[in-house]
Amino acid sequence: MYRYDEFDHTLVAERVEQFRDQVARRLSGELSEDEFKPLRLMNGLYLQLHAYMLRVAIPYGTLSSAQLRALGHVARRYDRGYGHFTTRQNIQYNWPKLDEVPDLLADLAEVEMHAIQTSGNCIRNVTADHYAGAAADEIEDPRVYAEIIRQWSTLHPEFSFLPRKFKIAVTGAPNDRAAVRVHDIGLQMRRNEAGEPGFEVIVGGGQGRTPLVGPTIREFLPKRHLLSYLEAIMRVYNLLGRRDNIYKARIKILVKQVGAEEFARLVEEEWRHIKDGALQLPAEELARIEAYFAPPAFEDLPARDSGFEARRFEDPDFARFVRTNLYAHKRPGYAIVNVSLKPEGGVPGDATAEQMEHLADLAARYSFDEIRVSHEQNLVLPHVKLGEVYALWQALRAQGLAAPNIGLVSDIIACPGLDYCNLANARSIPVAQRISTRFGDLKRQHEIGELKVKISGCINACGHHHVGQIGILGVDKKGEEFYQITLGGSADQNTALGDIVGPAFSYDDVVDAVETIVDTYVGLRRPGEQFNETYRRVGLAPFKEKLYAAH
């Protein structure tokens, strides 16, 4: 894992004291709310429906045990005993008190964490594949480059006041688990004809009120040019991005308006001036960062573990967990273990202080001290010996953290929605809870197979509804919550935006509608066919027919 150097430590410590002073000046009246608001937002502090909300950055979703334990401490000491993991691999606290936030941030700084650039029109927390450094299908660990981007973009004076917020995602594997095509910039690691790794550069994807799948503007970028090329993109955006209309200010609007080809030309033209300058990554600096992400001390193990296989054979509950929650590790004898934060009827992404602390202990014991946060609002223990998975599963089960549902219909992404968020038009969480309960029968869930349901409480799409196989968007119709459903979205290597199925459903009816869609799919699918494959084959018509037949 990356460890702060003296510059990082100084920067974060100074920022805590700056914010402490700003809060004091706000409370004394020296700063008005208009003056203070941009300062608190620069430190991730929002004012939501019930209270302040603090968003803490988790760079590329990677945490040490000490950091997760500290997040649990913050939940208990400064909040109401829980935190909410978000679709940007961050954590949000829903109840901090303004005058306690400086102390909270000081506690986070002790474990090399902060809330800088988790809000505002700047480059936000860089996200990455949550299986980075562990996945069998990976070309290289993308966190090396995510960290380099983090260092380059932190307090970058040229990019601190962009037209709008800016989100970058990086993946090192061909199977896209970082949703790179729906980010402002997506970096997909590829090999060129000579077999050298570099990046496909995707620009102008995004969700929100104008969902767009990002086009590729460069098929292959050598790694040493990463920062200069990103800087060229940012400069073109900073110069030409609209600042007169918040709804047209994201880079996706610019790329769409000028066209991907012309945008690429503008970037290449800018890049020509800076590509061989100070931003070229020196090999020794790259090696220095790579060293932080060196693989842990894996043992040489056989690919199969007889104890693991026996347990799987003997215990059907464990077998079910293995089927959904384990992913292939690059090292023989190890597995990636997903920890679902979606128990039946639970709040997607929420974890209690006790669960965080318990998981921190389990990571220390079973996974080289590492935890990951996925953009699907689950946690991951990335490096677990097959021979220890059973013991880990038992320990997880004791804490209510062993739901065997990763990728299934109850593994729902849901934004905080109207239960917490000032921007929301409708509730998301209780809809997710009701769907989860409706499909509570695990046997049924496993028979349905992979199915990605994603729910947003407003058009800003924090719940990724556009890219859900079943997407649900909460809307307000004359003071009542309604839910518009889309089908066929995807955030993986086959990124697609869902199609609106028809008129929206009421709060009471939306869960029945989801069940009707699922039942229709199960009735129509061919053996082995996944939801989107069936949907592409049959189209909207059979789903509409079932959903609206009675109307």
Binding site: W95, K97, L418
Partner: protein, 99 residues
């Protein structure tokens, strides 16, 4: 005319508060001062300006309510949730406090 109350968030902790008839701030909707005329609305807004200047609250605004069985009830789902707490966590927010 629609019945309205004035609500805001308390500066120090973000708590949802309502302006009472005596000009103080309460955490409880039922203790709100009511505005039934444009003149009374203007008085509430003027009081909110003073509270802003005194650094008691942020983001004040008028919101419509209805009187149902002697109790005030917000008209929008958003304000119902602000007045009670998250609908998914009965143990949190004002709803968790027995009065």
């Amino acid at each position: 005319m629609m019945l309205k109350v004035l609500t805001a968030n308390r500066l120090r902790d973000g708590e949802v508060v309502y302006l009472t008839a005596t000009g103080t701030w309460s955490e409880w909707l039922d203790e709100s001062g009511l505005a039934e005329t444009p003149e009374r609305e203007a008085e509430l807004l003027a009081a909110a300006e003073l509270a802003l200047a005194a650094r008691l609250v942020v983001d004040p605004y008028l919101m419509p309510v209805a009187e149902v069985a002697g109790r005030l009830r917000p008209l929008s789902q958003r304000e119902i949730i602000r007045a009670k707490g998250p609908s998914v966590r009965a143990d949190l927010g004002k709803q968790a406090i027995r009065r």
